[in-house]
């Protein structure tokens, strides 16, 4: 073969990427998906935009945010595909007087310095442990799995007939001294509060 190693690697990467994207299209066109009323947008692009709004509609205790560098750190575990969507949508966006910075955490790395932590489905194995380690810490936790809120997470994003909905565990936010705006609470499908559950929709 005349391909240099670099070329091979590059080609592999391209096809990997194509594979990832095509699977999105494949799934969209697969038997498992309903017909859509309008062209669909990539799930994680939209979820990134949700995270942007969450950053705006949550107040951190003053001490929690870094006073010097004026950023809000959104952390995501070692997860290349999600990271890219998040970075392209969110990096450098201003939230009030601060700017959003998307940070990638390696497997073992601590969550220190994170203001928002996004735990995707892929992190379900360590989810409970991570959330437990963050209990009481002023970190807004956003996740996806069915037991994210019962594990102590704050906002769960989920799909309902291909549209994104979210539920809020206000107990978890309260104990971390995060203040979630009433507007966000109003738009949540379910709000868990003081052990009981409000279903709005």
């Amino acid at each position: 073969m005349i391909n240099s190693a670099g070329n091979t690697k590059r080609r592999t990467c391209i096809s990997v990427r194509i594979l990832a994207l095509l699977s999105a299209f494949l799934v969209a066109s697969d038997a498992f998906q309903p017909a859509r009323a309008q062209p669909a947008t990539d799930e994680y692009k939209v979820k990134a935009a949700f995270l942007f709004h969450f950053a705006q509609l949550v107040d951190w205790p003053a001490a929690a945010l870094n006073a010097t560098d004026q950023t809000i750190s959104l952390c995501v575990f070692d997860d290349e595909s999600r990271l890219q969507e998040l970075q392209s949508t969110l990096e450098g966006k201003s939230v009030g007087t601060r700017t959003l910075h998307v940070r990638q955490l390696s497997q073992a790395q601590a969550t220190q310095g994170c203001n928002i932590l996004f735990l995707s489905h892929d992190e379900s194995l360590r989810q409970a442990a991570v959330l437990r380690s963050l209990r009481g810490q002023p970190v807004l936790t956003v996740g996806e799995t069915g037991n994210f809120l019962s594990d102590g997470g704050m906002i769960r994003l989920r799909l309902d007939e291909d549209k994104i909905r979210f539920d809020i565990n206000i107990n978890a936010a309260d104990s971390s001294r995060l203040k979630i705006s009433s507007r966000l609470l109003m738009l949540a499908t379910t709000v868990i509060r003081g052990g009981e559950r409000d279903r709005r929709k």
Partner: protein
């Protein structure tokens, strides 16, 4: 034996985790990816300009909540990558199907034979050998095997799960014995219910139609302090009887009530616990030809009333050891009672399964497990059916291991597995499997598999005696025609060769095709015995005996095609076609020259289907499915086309109202009749149905 969906993927979907790893790998430099994205879009024929996605952060939350998204969920990717003929019925498919029962849902699976016998009975199988007791199809509900070890088959009338609580149904055509165990010869159906966390709140559904009333369902899900999430439900229905060939009422109306629960709790950061339980009671009628007395000898078709009940409970403990290793331990108990005046049985099943899943090195994904099942039954002898001994305890020990190796990451994956079992009838049994997946590029995926699978004997193969017919013989001596089980019955054995190809031509069109060639040995035959005088049961009579043997062998082959075509953003068409051919032959020494033809002609050679799903304005959805099934020559069933349709109106977030029509093209046609069913078949009626559901 497999416990949950995830583990099933471990076995069947080849290399997916490595695939996912590669998708998320850091080897790719970002600009390469961007190039690839652009290349892909060009590939898809989209102008590159349209790729500049609007800045979504500028949209309001309300707008964002109205955007429809594509999700690349792990589950669906896994299915599309599985090295087996897998079809998944999703929750959306269930909602749109208008089906009232699990068998009706299964009609949409390309290549699966689903034929309704009467109001409460179905013959369901994949790849041939269909019958009321299809003995080569394994069915599991949340990891609990519902294959009946007495009659070797599934009593579909007692497998009821509220359809709204089903997360998905995975149907695998072809052998899955290396993972799932014996009897997963021609297919596996895995019904997976939703987690309790996903069914919070209340749910009420009611239906009424020409078919009958129900199912009326009431369910509630909540969270308890020490329990975690739970749900409980109760459901009941009454389906009307169907007419028979002769035009009379089949007296086969079917009633059922059942209730159950599921809890999902997190014990610790690493441990989670699921418990489930169900209790049910039902009854259904049928017309069956049965001997009524020996002196005088009378055999007649009589109306029987099958009464059945049971309960089951399951507990499953999942433990995550590390991100590369996890275990699950599952225990269940199942009690079944059923009977009419011609048979009565009770069955206790206790089953314990352990599984360990481990990622080893960078290339290997290993699952291994151990299992033990003990079944104890009690039967009551009747004039028609006697089991000898009446009561029996059987045990099954099993172990399996499956290793999935990435030979070339993202390109070529090999999975090798084997299951070793020991059962009370035939002792040790080894069921191996080798599967290879090749993904030459992002649009094509090809797989091939060679597997061995066995159908192990059931009580009805070894211990049963069925007195079919009592009739007056020469000189007024009663004659009894009976079939006997064979204590030396051996496993029915399959060696299967399968290959499949999946292609995604465009984002709108995908194709899934499978071909298979199966070789069967030691298939069940019915061998005539020597006529003799028998004094017990009294009075003395002439016995014309037959007994089961392993006298047949044969081959089947076929093609299964399925496509998905998104005609427009609001309209999806799903055509499917399957061809099937079977040739059975008696071994030298077998005197069974009739059953081969009966079994060959009991499965349709051609089947085709077209499903359409359309979203309409005003929150309406219109769905229609047409199924063509060619004639069954052996059982005198003419070909038919079944047309079902429904219209669903989502009246707000909480309420939906649907109207459905079934069998619209032809009123009163049969879908199935003997030889592997003793029941007088019912004729399928054109029927309408309306349903309302309310969630709160």
């Amino acid at each position: 034996m497999n416990m949950q969906a995830r583990t099933s993927y471990c076995g069947l979907s080849h290399g997916l985790s490595s695939l996912l790893n590669s998708v998320t790998s850091k080897r790719c430099h970002r600009h390469v990816k961007v190039c690839a994205t652009v290349a892909l879009l060009t590939l898809l024929g989209l102008p590159a300009r349209s790729q500049e996605t609007p800045d979504l952060t500028q949209k309001s939350l309300e707008d964002l909540m109205n955007i429809e998204v594509t999700s690349v969920s792990r589950k669906e990717q896994k299915t599309s990558q599985a090295a087996a003929a897998v079809f998944v019925i999703s929750r959306e498919d269930i909602r749109r199907s208008g089906a009232l029962s699990i068998p009706d849902l299964l009609r949409m699976v390309p290549g699966l034979d689903v034929a309704q016998i009467d109001a409460s009975k179905w013959a369901i199988t994949a790849r041939g050998f269909n019958g009321q007791y299809s003995d080569k199809l394994l069915v599991l509900i949340d990891g609990r095997a519902v294959y009946n070890p007495i009659f070797a088959g599934v009593f579909w009338d007692s497998q009821n799960v509220p359809l709204d609580s089903i997360e998905r149904i995975e149907v695998i055509r072809g052998p899955g014995a290396a993972i799932w165990g014996s009897n997963a010869v021609n297919g596996v159906i895995n019904i997976i219910t939703r987690k309790a966390d996903d069914t919070q709140g209340g749910y009420v559904a009611a239906g009424l139609g020409y078919i009958g009333t129900g199912p009326e369902t009431i369910g509630y899900g909540g969270k308890a302090r020490h329990l975690g999430a739970f749900r409980a439900y109760a459901e009941g229905f009454h389906y009307n009887s169907l007419p028979t060939f002769t035009g009379i009422d089949g007296r086969d109306d079917w009633r059922l009530v059942h209730g159950g629960f599921r809890t999902d709790s997190t014990l610790s950061a690493k441990d989670s616990l699921t418990t489930e339980g169900e209790v049910y009671a039902g009854n259904a009628g049928e017309f069956t030809l049965t001997p009524l007395s020996l002196q005088p000898p009378v055999t007649a078709t009589v109306a029987l009333h099958d009464i059945y009940s049971g309960w089951n409970a399951l507990i499953r403990w999942n433990r995550i050891i590390s991100s590369r290793s996890d275990t699950s331990l599952q225990v269940y108990f199942d009690r079944t009672n059923r009977g009419d005046t011609t048979y009565a049985l009770g069955l206790n099943t206790f089953d314990i399964d352990f599984q360990h899943h481990i990622l080893w090195g960078t290339r290997q994904d290993i699952v291994w497990g151990l299992g033990y099942r003990v079944s104890s039954d009690d039967t009551s002898p009747t004039l028609r059916i006697v089991f000898t001994p009446n009561d029996r305890v059987t045990q099954l020990f099993s172990s399996f291991v499956q290793d999935e190796v990435a030979l070339r990451r993202d390109r070529l994956h090999l999975s090798l597995g084997a299951r070793v079992e020991h059962n009370s009838y035939t002792g040790f049994d080894v069921e191996p499997s080798a599967r290879l997946v090749w993904t030459p590029d992002s649009k094509n995926m090809a797989w091939g598999a060679v597997s061995g699978a066995d159908r192990t004997p059931s009580r009805s193969d070894t211990d049963i005696r069925v007195n079919y017919t009592a009739l007056p013989g020469p000189g007024g001596v009663p004659v009894l025609v009976s079939i006997f089980g064979n204590p030396n019955f051996r496993n029915e054995r399959l060696t299967a060769f399968e290959a499949g190809y999946r292609n995604t031509w465009t984002s709108r069109f995908s194709l899934d095709s499978t071909i298979f060639y199966n070789r069967y040995r030691d298939l069940v035959s019915v061998e005539p015995g020597a006529t003799r005088i028998e004094t017990n049961p009294a009075p003395a009579h002439l016995l014309v005996p037959e007994s089961f043997g392993n006298g047949l062998h044969g081959e089947t082959h076929g093609i299964e095609l399925f496509a998905n075509w998104k005609v427009a953003s609001f309209w999806t068409l799903s055509p499917g076609y399957s061809f099937f051919s079977m040739h059975l032959h008696p071994f030298a020494g077998s005197q069974d020259f009739t059953d081969a033809a009966g079994t060959e002609g009991g499965s349709p050679d051609h089947k085709a289907q077209l499903r359409s799903s359309m979203s309409l304005p005003w929150n309406l959805q219109w769905n229609a499915s047409a199924y063509f099934v060619n004639r069954l020559p052996a059982v005198s069933i003419p070909s038919y086309t079944r047309l079902d349709t429904n219209l669903i109106w989502h009246a707000g977030e909480r309420v939906s109202i649907s109207v459905a029509g079934q069998n619209l093209l032809k009123n009163l046609h049969p879908e199935y009749s003997g030889p592997n069913s003793t029941v007088q078949p019912g004729l399928m009626r054109r029927a309408g149905y309306a349903k309302i559901t309310w969630s709160f």
